[in-house]
């Protein structure tokens, strides 16, 4: 799976202060750390970028490109910042992150993907919010992708985002997103995909977030999912994705197939992955203590 490093994010206090003060060092440190950790792309999340959107986006892209050759994912809902960010990408073909089925996004974001010949993330969001189940996600994405195709953006350039909600807030939605991932390549041949993986564990105690993210990534990967915006500083996540931990992948797949998998012969680590699969598939009710359940 293609891993898009998530750490340069405006919600992070360090990043927010650095952007405000135009202090390159903290941003470049994060860029280098993620590049060395094995990221394939770097996400630059600048939020709504209300103040000086053009100048901010340009500064951020240039700052990061000074220290890495990785392609960048320009992540903002502000079309002005988006355009400036895409324009500033000189090293590799960027990813526009993101457009959606919302009217304003179709009108202002999607044309930028065509204009700058970028890859583009299209989420299932619509004017009515996040579609509640698989069918409505399909309906939304078919509509938006058809619109993008008409603009001249081929399926191969589109990375569909099913929208992942925190398991602690709505366990059922986690399963809906997975089911959607399963059928995506059948309904839209040639399409790519991505997901905000860490949102899964938002609200979960910090020390337990990793295993949720890693397990879900592996489950998605089984269905040919293309990429994830993720915490690449989690070494186990990168190793798992690289194929260094085949026995964990195997136990996750078995847990997906067998509801009553016998865990008595498994190691503690393997058991934890099995319990996590069980929770993410909605077989047991989520609680923060799911590993002790």
């Amino acid at each position: 799976m293609i891993l898009i490093g998530e750490s340069i994010h405006i919600i992070s206090k360090g990043v927010s202060a650095a952007v405000k003060e135009r202090n390159k060092k903290p941003i470049q440190d994060l860029a280098v750390a993620q590049t060395e950790a094995g990221a394939h792309y770097l996400d630059l999340n600048m939020g709504p970028a209300r103040k000086n959107p053009e100048e901010t986006a340009e500064w951020l892209v240039k700052t990061v490109q000074e220290v890495t050759d990785l392609p960048l994912s320009i992540d903002t809902l502000n079309p002005v910042a988006m355009e400036a960010g895409l324009k500033a990408c000189t090293k590799a073909r960027p990813l526009l992150n993101s457009a959606s089925g919302r009217t304003d996004s179709k009108e202002e974001m999607l044309p930028l993907a065509k204009k700058y010949n970028t890859d583009v993330v299209i989420s299932v969001l619509t004017d009515r919010g996040c579609p509640p189940d698989v069918d409505s996600r399909v309906e939304s994405i078919m509509d938006t992708v058809a619109y993008a195709n008409e603009l001249g953006i081929p399926n191969e350039d589109i990375w569909v985002d099913p929208i992942l909600l925190p398991v602690s807030a709505d366990q059922k939605q986690v399963l809906e997103a997975l089911e959607f991932a399963k059928i995506l390549s059948d309904i839209l041949p040639g399409i790519k995909s991505t997901i905000g993986l860490s949102n899964l564990s938002n609200g979960t105690p910090e020390e337990l977030r990793g295993i949720l993210n890693r397990t879900y990534m592996t489950m998605l990967g089984r269905y040919g999912f293309y990429s994830a915006i993720a915490d690449v500083l989690d070494q186990e996540l990168v190793r798992l994705n690289r194929g260094d931990l085949p026995q964990i992948v195997d136990v996750i797949h078995r847990a997906m197939d067998e509801e009553d998998l016998d865990i008595s012969s498994l190691s503690q680590q393997e058991r934890e992955y099995v319990k996590t699969v069980s929770t993410l598939l909605g077989r047991t009710l989520y609680s923060h203590s799911w590993l002790e359940d």
């Binding site: 602690s168 366990q171 009710l285 989520y286 609680s287 203590s289 002790e292 359940d293």
Partner: protein, 301 residues
């Protein structure tokens, strides 16, 4: 063609929990099907039980029509509790309002002695709720547990902040515990898991919080219903505890219940009936006429 009604059978069941000791002991829970699904397989060995509420201090904001049935006894919790039993309560729910640190702030010892008097004076099991202040309850409830050692009170609320000390005292002195979480099924399960590490799960009753009709009752309904679904249908051991619907205060504080006696009794009755349908195993009521009305309706089942 003959019509054959579908019959469900379930794989899980709610734990049977005993409250009270000796001749006072009453069992709750134990059902292996959903509440009032009389058409399905499985059994409901124990009917829901009704408690009437008593306070250890005179209430100052009750509507006159809910105070009226207790007007001669409100200054004496023992007599008040006995009155509840006369009215047909199967349990008495004593609320230690006096211990509230923003009110009278009575000492744990004082409160515990009052509980003991009530417990000794009534022929039914006693539910004891502290003020809900997590720090104060952590002092009051262990004192109550020790003073009433061996009487198997139903003690609470044990919250995520103070469950350890309350469970320890309940364990030592043979009581049952109310595990309370704020209208959230995931947090509810979380507390049950943590509590069960050191405390027997067959001595836990869940209080998911009960909101009154028109004031969020549907949230309580949904959580109670989902709790039973995960426990009875999907065998989740950490949601198989019986449920207490502590709804009286939430009904009687509404402006509707304070507007007229008839409306108040209907408000409390409708809330109680709804939460019974969701699966409540104990219902805490305030007005004796509510108790009569709800029982009469259930008889016509």
């Amino acid at each position: 063609m003959d019509y054959k009604a579908p019959v469900e059978s379930y794989s899980g069941s709610v734990r049977e929990v005993t409250i009270g000791q000796g001749s006072k002991a009453v069992k709750i829970g134990g059902e292996s099907k959903l509440a009032y699904n009389f058409f399905d397989e499985g059994s409901i060995p124990n009917p829901p039980r009704f408690a009437l509420e008593v306070r250890d201090t005179e209430p100052d904001n009750w509507a006159p029509w809910v105070l009226e049935p207790y007007k001669d006894v409100v200054s004496d919790p023992v007599k008040w509790a006995q009155k509840c039993v006369e009215y047909g309560a199967e349990m008495v729910c004593l609320r230690l309002a006096s211990t509230d640190p923003v009110g009278k702030d009575a000492s744990p010892k004082e409160a515990a002695e009052a509980v003991k008097k009530v417990a000794d004076a009534v022929s039914v099991p006693l539910i004891v709720y502290g003020s809900g202040d997590d720090k104060k309850d952590a002092e009051v409830l262990p004192e109550v547990a020790a003073t009433c050692s061996g009487q198997n009170l139903l003690l609470g609320p044990a919250l995520k902040e103070n469950y350890e000390v309350i469970a320890k005292a309940a364990q030592e002195h043979g009581h049952t515990v109310i595990a309370q979480t704020p209208l959230d099924i995931n947090l509810m399960k979380e507390l049950n898991i943590k509590l069960s590490k050191t405390f027997p799960p067959e001595r836990v009753v869940i209080d998911p919080l009960s909101s009154g009709l028109g004031y969020g009752m549907e949230y309580s309904f949904t959580i109670m219903e989902r709790t039973k679904h995960t426990g009875v249908m999907f065998k989740d051991a950490m949601t198989q505890m019986p449920i207490i619907a502590d709804l009286a205060e939430e009904c009687w504080k509404t402006k509707e219940a304070k507007a007229s006696k008839e409306q108040g009794i209907l408000w409390e009755s409708m809330t109680a009936l709804s939460l019974l349908l969701a699966g409540a195993n104990i219902v805490v009521l305030r007005h004796p006429e509510t108790l009569g009305l709800v029982r009469e309706i259930l008889k016509q089942e």
